[in-house]
């Protein structure tokens, strides 16, 4: 008994009130946006949920300016009325201008601060993030949640990348031979839409891939993805395939010339076939179509790959890591420098698994 009371005494001595505000005085941060102003002052916007009373929820956006991330944080605490939890952020939004300025401070802050969540979605916006976060959310409480849902639901089509979490973002930044590539969103009427990919080199945004190429770049870049492919025949009639793609990369080195072989295996099912020769999709017919469209797709992809390789000289296909794995970690500079001179060979193979409900 003596011992027990001694322990209790110890506990009482060593604990006291820790001065933590209770949970009802907490506000949930949904989204953080990072902008830059003309005179190179940073600006950040916080979107958070406002709890008026039981079951009444609203949202609000606060924007502060400053020279560093936590200077802005300090200023924000002068405005807001509640404690903020940084661990809840759903979406981290970076404006295009801020991306061009460099985002190493954002990466460091999010990685270093233990309280930050590692499952935040990251995206780049064309407009100022403040403007986007201040929009009225249609089917969620906050814009940040809407952007997250937008990106998550886009996995279904367009072969959109799945590595949009902040931990994937760190991986893209730190792993050798890789570049940060993030979904690029823009304001569209009174809401937002996904319109491309933002490509970074180190911590700086260098260019964005426009909407029309995004699908093919994604198809080339992602290990596993799904989406729809459309092929037109001479009479501008179309066939639509729902595809699941698998990517396989092989690297060959010949006399300091690196060849990247990208093999795409696409399992697909016919969703719409409004073509003349699709009277009856027999096995022979399907094989014929498979071959025809495989070649067509390979040609199309090769064109795009060559275009971006020659135009920017940056690996947007996420293939350099294979070269690093083959050559060794110390050859990274050589690989980066020689990317523009290396060969990229693409071979896509479409396999049609199912013609759908109607067969003739």
């Amino acid at each position: 008994m003596k011992k027990i009371s001694l322990v209790l005494l110890f506990m009482l001595i060593f604990t006291s009130c820790y001065g933590k505000p209770s949970i009802e005085r907490t506000s949930v941060i949904a989204g953080i946006g990072h902008d830059i102003d003309k005179d190179k002052t940073l600006s950040s916007s916080f979107e958070f949920i406002v709890f008026k009373s039981q079951n009444v929820v609203d949202k609000s956006v606060v924007t502060t300016k400053g020279k560093s991330i936590f200077e802005m944080f300090n200023k924000r605490l002068l405005i807001t009325k509640r404690r903020h939890l940084p661990g809840t952020v759903r979406t981290l939004l970076i404006s295009e201008e801020r991306g061009k300025f460099g985002i190493s401070d954002i990466i460091d802050a999010f990685l270093r601060d233990q309280e930050r969540n590692l499952n935040t979605t990251v995206a780049v916006s064309k407009q100022r993030t403040e403007e986007i976060l201040k929009l009225n959310a249609k089917d969620s409480n906050t814009m940040a949640e809407e952007i997250e849902d937008l990106i998550k639901s886009s996995y279904e089509a367009n072969f959109t990348q799945r590595d949009t979490n902040i931990k994937d973002f760190f991986n893209m930044y730190y792993q050798e031979g890789r570049h940060i590539m993030l979904p690029y969103i823009e304001k569209y009427k009174d809401t937002v839409k996904l319109s491309g990919i933002a490509v970074f080199k180190k911590d700086k945004l260098i260019f964005t891939i426009p909407e029309e190429d995004t699908k093919y770049i994604n198809l080339l870049r992602n290990e596993k993805a799904q989406g729809y492919l459309t092929f037109f025949d001479e009479n501008s009639k179309s066939i639509d395939l729902f595809c699941n793609s698998r990517r396989n990369v092989k690297v060959d080195i010949n006399d300091n010339k690196i060849t990247y072989n990208i093999y795409l295996l696409i399992y697909s099912s016919v969703k719409e076939a409004n073509i003349d020769d699709a009277q009856e999709l027999t096995k022979d017919k399907l094989i014929e179509l498979e071959e025809k469209y495989s070649n067509e797709l390979t040609k199309q992809l090769q064109e795009i790959a060559d275009k971006y390789q020659n135009k920017y000289g940056t690996d947007i296909f996420d293939v350099q890591k294979y070269a690093v794995a083959k050559l060794g970690r110390d050859k990274i500079d050589f690989i980066e420098e020689n990317f523009i001179n290396s060969n990229i060979k693409i071979s896509a193979k479409i396999k049609i698994l199912s013609p759908g409900r109607i067969i003739r």
Partner: protein, 361 residues
Amino acid sequence: MFKINNQITRNQYMFIIQNSIIGVGILSLASGVCKVAKQSGWISVLVAGIYPIYICIVAALIYRNTNYNEFLETNKRIWGKFLAYIFTIFFFINFIFFSSFVLSGFANVLVFTTTKFLSPHTIIVITVILTYFTINYGLTNIGRLSELLFYLTILILIIPFYFINKGHITNLLPLFDDVSSIFKAVPETFFAYSGVEISLLIIPYVTDFKKVLSSGVIGSLITIFIYTLTVLLTINYCGHILTSKLQYPLLYLVAGADLPVLSNFEPLFIFLWGNKIFQTLAVGGYGLSYTLSKIIKKSYNRCCLYSCLIIMFVSSMLVPEHTRTMVIDKVEPYLVGFILVYSTLTLILSYFKGGKTFEKN
């Protein structure tokens, strides 16, 4: 007031060995080895696993040659009275360092993650009280707890397994970039693998001596497997640059698991892992009290109190994580080196001086 019972079964010996090795090291191990050996860090961990296996084998052989007398008796027979005391004092110091490193590391991790509001000193004091309760009942209770907590180890592994196909194989390739760096990274693992020295003390208390050697080796192998696997999975997911930048790569991995129910599995992991830490501490505390009671010739229970106070005091000085890391980097190679030399020499001498039966008191 307390009855001490020191007998343990062969299985419990195995679990004690397994538990005593796993400690704070598992969280930061990947970071240290990746700094030196890059993507091949996990091979260094595998290679360094020779250390615990070696100690277990040597300990079992020494006691086999000398008929399983207690630690001090065996030493007296082999080294003579004076040197035996010197070595006991050395083991005493070794366990002070070991326990304090574990305890301060534990406090640092807790303050770093789930209980930011507590001061590390509070955590140290409370943990020491718990350790006192654990070790006061003798080795049998520690053995039983180890046996129980072994099953928790399996749970600890589940969360890293979530990442098994989330990473990318290119992060691990090429396997052998630089062979010499793999060996250079071995000292980084010393702290993670320390704790196995307890086998030099507790083998005489095992009820069944027949398979002590293989039990020790199996216990070490389980730990080596766990270490290698966690480091491998971490590198596979994060890549070696990020891994070496992180203070606790395994915690980063756990925190990143995107599963329903909880938004972050770190506390759950800390909860399971914390139990293991208490156990590791208990083993260290036992070694400390045991050697202390041999040195100052006081009862074991009293020495438990003294040793807990010592652990509390030393670990309070090691509180900020960078201080602790610095001290570990300085001290650990010497400790490991000394234990290797000591155990090897003792083994050789035990072949000459052992063999005759010696009455066990």
